[in-house]
């Protein structure tokens, strides 16, 4: 097993959970990042201001933690650009088609006891595991 710090993982997770509760309790919205971004892109007028505010704040929150702790994550370099672009395309298309991502289905949907979110979460984790197995162990690339 890889070495890891369980405390920041658990604490960071709790902050994400709290963020989801604040958005639902304050605005009545699901804190699903793909839904928030996708909605901002699809609806050029109306119902988009809060989405851009949320995304800007998310970026600012990550930057704030980065300022306090600049060493816990080492940025990856040298990963194939084509692979990153293809991955992004699949994630963008797949999360919109499947109505959610790790936050919308995983954190919010499971908390709302949604059967759709449970099926989606199991599906994307299984597909991710299969993909990593194929890339790393079956084909031996990256």
């Amino acid at each position: 097993m890889a070495e890891f710090d369980w405390l920041p993982a658990l604490a960071g997770g709790a902050l994400i959970g709290l963020a989801a509760v604040l958005l639902l309790g304050g605005l009545g919205r699901i804190a699903g990042i793909s839904g928030i971004l996708g909605g901002a892109l699809e609806r050029p007028r109306g119902d988009t201001a809060w989405r851009w505010w949320f995304l800007a704040a998310l970026l600012a929150g990550a930057a704030l933690h980065r300022l306090l702790d600049p060493v816990s994550v080492t940025p990856r370099t040298g990963y194939p650009v084509l692979l990153l672009l293809a991955a992004g395309l699949l994630v963008g298309l797949g999360t919109r088609l499947g109505s959610g991502c790790t936050s919308g289905h995983g954190v919010c949907g499971l908390a709302g006891l949604s059967p759709r979110s449970l099926v989606a979460t199991v599906t994307f984790i299984a597909a991710g595991m299969l993909t990593v197995w194929l890339l790393r162990h079956a084909l031996g690339v990256v």
Partner: protein, 138 residues
């Protein structure tokens, strides 16, 4: 007032993602690599998130409205269909290719590196492609 909650929620979400190392694609790929040196970080992140969101959502559902008497816009659908499973599968493949999902991909832009930027460019194109296909989901 709602705007304050939006900004507060976004700040906590982004801070939490970076604190939890989810902006490190190596950790996420390590979680997905069950046949290699498995990295449990993501499991602890999900556990921490659900420990707060499950009771929080349950209390809000019982209340039946936001704290400002607004509508809770929770998805109503319970049915399973092809787009849900197919979309989740496509997303999972992309997730496994790079180690980024949407939130961490955007949050990792704060590191000032190109790696997540290429991913986010691809993701925006994928979402715009979906919008151009004219599909709408709830």
């Amino acid at each position: 007032m709602g705007r304050l909650f939006v900004i507060g929620s976004g700040l906590l979400f982004g801070f939490g993602l970076d604190l939890a190392r989810m902006t490190d694609p190596a950790r996420v790929l390590g979680f997905l690599d069950v046949a290699g040196r498995w990295d449990p970080t993501l499991l602890f992140v999900m556990a921490g998130a659900l420990a707060v969101s499950v009771p929080g959502f349950a209390l809000l559902r019982r209340r039946g409205a936001t704290w400002f008497a607004g509508t809770l816009r929770l998805p109503e659908r319970r049915d399973l269909d092809g787009p849900l499973v197919g979309g989740a599968a496509l997303f999972g493949v992309g997730w496994g290719l790079a180690g980024y999902c949407p939130g961490p991909g955007i949050a990792a832009l704060s590191h000032g590196a190109l790696d997540p930027a290429w991913f986010v460019v691809g993701m925006l194109l994928g979402m715009l492609a979906y919008a151009a296909l004219g599909r709408r989901t709830g």
